[in-house]
């Protein structure tokens, strides 16, 4: 039982840590410096700023809310505040007693063509404790080529090492052998259940409002949980609290506008951003009765009463709507709301209290006299999070808290739309779940070389009533499910509970100033399951909580990495290797009916999954030429009793070799160029090996799940950004982005399947394979302005 062993070790660490706290409390010749670090022009708090005392060799970084606190000996000290892309501040301060110091960092004036691509400390690659963590570079994102010229966060995520895509035109991604539903996507701490617009051609994230975004693939801190494979934590801007401003852009696919400004200078600010596609306008103008559009709105208000109390309210709404000939319509959307209160209980104890509401829903409608129906499905989530960040000493920084989530799943409401409809009104039973998580994690500096982050998360999950649970004679009999009895549960009554302990550990050992090794182990538990048996989830897939028939999914992952910087942090190299073992991954029986099935439980098949791989990254951080080369070798398999004759098979999203290259070149102040190249081994597909005749049909004979690979995927894109020089003397700044997608016009496989060969609409009796490919070469132009 290696897991139990690890668990014991983790407990030992916790005791060790409690002992350290005891020691720290005993010291009193010390005092604390704390405050917020902000951008001097916009007043936005900066995440990850280094505060360093060179004479004491002690330092700290600002947390996710821009707050820092560090306890040092009384006296006069030199202190640095440094953040890449900003002018470093050096201050000599006399710390006699606890001191509050807010710092405004001014953005560095870009020296001629000196572009710095990452928003983190120059040597973060080596010195950061984080392993398997990717900070998404927003500046590179805005210049990066994209399919319709719309910068898309998820497309950048899909280029990171260890991340695999199902193909172009989808917003789903697969992290280290995990499926698409194993990624938790957070916007201002609220979960997004489906991040796609237009079936995934672009994602729900409007790049203009993103302040910071991090992808955790491993070494996941204890405060995060709920999904097996990754956390994508997206934080939006608070809005400029110094002056009014705005921006707008007109693109091929969508246009967007943002305004922001102070409600009260330096205290309160707002931000409002909206984006809408307008293909439907052209369709209408051309007399087409079909209509397709999406929109999203991000809004945020913040009020910084004092360093002690700060309030934030953020909302996101987005929707896609399709209407085909006024007969068939469908739509889906996410809505989230976050209310946050940051409070300082003391100069060392930072508290973040969050209330979160999130909803995802979809609807389908057919307008027809006898077959007319309307189908809707909704997931609601309400959550409360109390997080504490305790800056005990420069050597120990403690995170602990509690997270409560209430979820309600309405899998399907089915209503006839007309009196004459042959349908009757039908509902699938609603499902309810409560999640409690208690977590504690400590970041500990053992020596100048060795640092640790370790923690524990206790996940208590309850599937609750009201509801009926069918007790099946054989829960796997999906042909004629036989119900022994039905157990009824009252409101809030517990149906089944699952308790899991999730240890987390990461360690960094500095070999020297330019290289380090890192290690991490984490266990993750997931209690929501996507009901989808395809490779790419559709917005029309529902989710189910863990239940009598769905056990929690569990993943154990270890990762080790070597990190090395060259030439004064000009180049950053990392090599990571991971091994991930997953239990109870959710799959479905062959031929499962997952759409309107009162006995859905009989279609569930859970089993094991295994993934391992090697990831390589080379980044160039400064200079005229910046960018990265990411290479991943990985393998992911599943073994599910009852699927593929219970034999092991390749996961739908297994791609052995993946290369992603991004290069940005700054030619002059006017012209910036970017290019991306991506290559990946084809993904596995299930193809027939034979055929037969039944009546006049020619069915394929399937012998094995995922027995073939699609042809390899590769693509080259370019973009050029023109910033007119006359901008300098104007209040309004303009920018043109020109793009070419799929420059050498490759027919990249999207999917492949067998069909009857036809000549002039008549079957020839033969079969053939047909490959579907999406985008040919696509040029795009986007015009941006900001003021």
């Amino acid at each position: 039982m290696p897991n139990r062993h690890l668990f014991k070790k983790t407990l030992l660490l916790v005791f060790h840590f409690l002992f350290v706290i005891g020691l720290t409390m005993a010291q009193s010749d010390k005092t604390t410096l704390n405050g917020y670090v902000r951008d001097a022009t916009s007043g936005e708090e900066l995440i990850g700023v280094t505060i360093y005392f060179p004479d004491l060799q002690k330092g700290v970084v600002t947390n996710a809310y821009g707050f820092y606190s560090i306890t040092v000996s009384r006296g006069t000290h030199l202190v640095y505040y440094s953040y890449v892309g900003y002018t470093k501040i050096e201050k000599t301060i006399n710390l006699a007693s606890g001191t509050e110091l807010n710092i405004d960092l001014a953005p560095a004036v870009e020296t001629m063509q000196e572009i710095v691509i990452s928003a983190e400390a120059a040597d973060a690659n080596v010195t950061d404790l984080a392993i398997s963590t990717e900070k998404i570079d927003l500046r590179a994102l805005k210049n990066m080529p994209s399919v319709f010229g719309e910068p898309d966060l998820i497309k950048m995520v899909q280029m990171m090492p260890g991340v695999i895509t199902a193909g172009e035109g989808t917003s789903s991604y697969f992290v280290r052998g995990g499926s698409a539903d194993q990624n938790l996507i957070l916007i201002d701490e609220a979960p997004i259940y489906d991040p796609s617009h237009l079936f995934g051609y672009i994602s729900v994230f409007n790049s203009d409002v993103i302040k910071e975004s991090t992808l955790y693939k491993g070494g996941i801190p204890a405060q995060y949980g709920g999904r097996l494979s990754s956390i994508l934590d997206v934080r939006t801007k608070d809005g400029n609290n110094k002056k009014f401003g705005g921006s707008a852009s007109i693109g091929t696919l969508a246009s967007k506008a943002t305004i922001e400004g102070p409600i009260k200078k330096d205290k309160g600010s707002f931000l409002l951003s909206a984006r809408r596609s307008y293909a439907d306008v052209f369709l209408k103008m051309s007399g087409n009765e079909n209509s397709v559009y999406f929109y999203d709105v991000n809004a945020k208000v913040s009020w910084k009463q004092s360093n002690k109390d700060r309030f934030f309210a953020a909302a996101y709404f987005g929707r896609d709507a399709f209407d085909l000939g006024n007969v068939f319509g469908f739509n889906w959307g996410n809505a989230t709301g976050t209310f946050r209160w940051n409070h300082l209980f003391s100069e060392k104890l930072f508290s973040n209290t969050t209330f979160i509401a999130s909803q995802f829903d979809y609807g389908l409608e057919l307008k027809e006299p006898s077959l007319g129906f309307e189908w809707t499905s909704v997931i609601n989530e309400l959550s409360f999070k109390q997080h504490f960040n305790w800056f005990i000493s420069p050597k120990n920084e403690l995170d602990f808290g509690y997270n409560f989530i209430y979820r309600r799943f309405e899998p399907a409401n089915f209503e006839p739309t007309m009196e004459s409809s042959i349908f009757t009104s039908t509902q699938l039973q609603k499902l309810y779940a409560l999640d409690h998580a208690f977590y504690i994690g400590n970041k500990q500096t053992i020596s100048t070389k060795l640092s640790l982050v370790y923690g524990l998360r206790l996940s208590i999950f309850q599937n609750i009533g009201p509801g009926d649970v069918k007790v099946y004679k054989d829960p796997q009999n999906n042909i004629r499910p036989q119900v022994d009895r039905v157990d009824s549960y009252d409101k809030l009554e517990s149906i089944i509970n699952y308790v899991n302990l999730e240890p987390r550990l990461s360690a960094r050992y500095l070999i020297n100033e330019v290289s380090s090794v890192k290690f991490s182990y984490n266990r993750m538990v997931q209690n929501v399951h996507l009901i989808s048996s395809g490779t790419v989830p559709l917005p029309f897939n529902t989710w189910s909580p863990s239940s009598t028939y769905l056990k929690p999914q569990i993943a154990d992952q270890v990762a080790v990495g070597y990190f090395r910087n060259f030439k004064d942090n000009l180049y950053a190299v990392s090599v990571e290797s991971f091994y991930k073992k997953m239990q109870n991954v959710t799959d479905f029986a062959d031929n499962a009916d997952i759409f309107f099935n009162e006995d859905l439980a009989t279609e569930f098949r859970q089993g094991d999954s295994e993934a391992y791989g090697l990831e390589f990254q080379l980044k160039k951080n400064r200079g005229k030429l910046t960018g990265f080369i990411n290479y991943t070798w990985s393998k992911s398999t599943r073994t599910i009793p009852g699927v593929n004759l219970s034999n092991q098979f390749l996961s739908n999203f297994d791609r052995r070799n993946v290369i992603n290259i991004l290069a940005g070149y700054s030619l002059s102040q006017r012209w910036n160029f970017s290019a991306t190249f991506t290559y990946s081994t084809g993904r596995p597909v299930t193809l027939p090996t034979g055929q037969y005749e039944y009546q006049f049909y020619k069915p394929s004979y399937i012998s094995e799940r995922n027995g073939y690979l699609l042809p390899a995927y590769h693509r080259l894109d370019f973009s050029a950004v023109l910033t007119p020089l006359k901008n300098k003397n104007r209040h309004i700044q303009t920018k043109w982005v020109f793009g070419i997608y799929n420059a050498y016009n490759r027919n990249n496989p999207f999917t492949l399947y067998a069909r009857d060969k036809e000549v002039n609409n008549a079957s020839t009796g033969e079969k053939e394979f047909v490959m579907i490919y999406l985008f040919p070469i696509i040029p795009s132009v986007t015009f941006n302005l900001s003021f």
């Binding site: 042909i479 055929q691 037969y692």
Partner: protein
């Protein structure tokens, strides 16, 4: 119904797409026994067709001519003989030696023995909703330009359908007594979520003025219904991108035979398309 919705969606998502026929180097598959047997409540000779699957790129059928076939039910056993009139196109077809009719509510077992291996399937004949009447309605013509000359019509079906039982049906449509057969289309129907009457259910196929339109309804057991809905998924798979990975349809045969033992009561009606 959910499945057809998803097909519509997949089709939409793929509508931005182009397609290309590709040649693949597929593995040789081991041949599988394929059995197609139909027993109805009509007093007639019934048939069973036996063949083997062929390789993906091969053409034609691989009939089995030396099977031993019998159907038993209601205390009777009926034997079948291979291609009694020795017609070339009927190779692999076995016909009952006597004329007989299945009974609603009775259970029938098909036994097929080939080279010492027994393939057996058992199913029950269910009640079929009887058609009250048919009527004609003008249908929306998707190609509008020839609206005036080329009016097209749907057949509307009226029937009573008992709500208290879970029933499954297969529809077949005939134009001038000829089966309308599309290689990817199967019309099966479950009454889950339906009201007690089918009031003007429109036919999914269209007719022109002067044609004789006929509708046949076959009753299905749940197993038979699942076979057809699985078959429809297989014939319409997108390769597992949005749809589930393709899989062989489920049936009730032992020893892993493909195909179906279908035991159905039949009701039918016809209407001449005159507006």
């Amino acid at each position: 119904m959910g499945k057809s919705t998803i097909i519509v969606l997949a089709v939409f998502a793929l509508s931005f797409a182009c397609e290309k026929v590709v040649e693949l180097d597929v593995q040789q598959s081991t041949t599988q026994m394929v059995i197609e047997g139909l027993l109805t409540d009509r007093d007639t000779t019934h048939f069973v067709k036996v063949s083997r699957s062929i390789q993906f790129y091969d053409i034609g059928v691989n009939p089995v001519t030396d099977a031993i076939i019998s159907v038993s039910g209601e205390g009777q056993t009926y034997t079948y003989s291979h291609n009694p009139f020795d017609i070339d196109s009927m190779k692999g077809y076995y016909f009952s030696d006597v004329v007989y009719a299945g009974k609603v509510g009775a259970t029938y077992t098909l036994d097929v023995e080939v080279e010492g291996v027994n393939y057996s399937a058992t199913d029950t004949m269910y009640y079929v909703a009887s058609i009250d009447s048919l009527s004609i309605a003008l249908a929306f013509n998707p190609s509008k330009e020839d609206e005036e000359d080329d009016k097209i019509y749907q057949v509307l079906l009226y029937a009573n359908e008992p709500k208290e039982t879970e029933d499954y049906f297969q529809f077949q449509f005939y134009r001038n007594k000829e089966l309308i057969a599309y290689p990817n289309t199967i019309y099966v129907f479950s009454d889950v979520g339906l009201g007690p009457t089918l009031n003007g259910l429109p036919s999914p196929v269209l007719f022109k003025e002067g044609e004789l339109a006929s509708v046949k309804i076959y009753s299905l057991s749940k197993e038979q219904y699942l076979f057809y809905s699985d078959l429809a998924n297989l014939l319409n798979t997108d390769g597992g991108m949005f749809s589930p990975p393709p899989a062989n349809p489920r049936n009730t045969f032992t020893s892993g035979a493909l195909g179906l033992w279908q035991v159905s009561a039949v009701s039918e009606d016809s209407i001449l398309v005159i507006p």
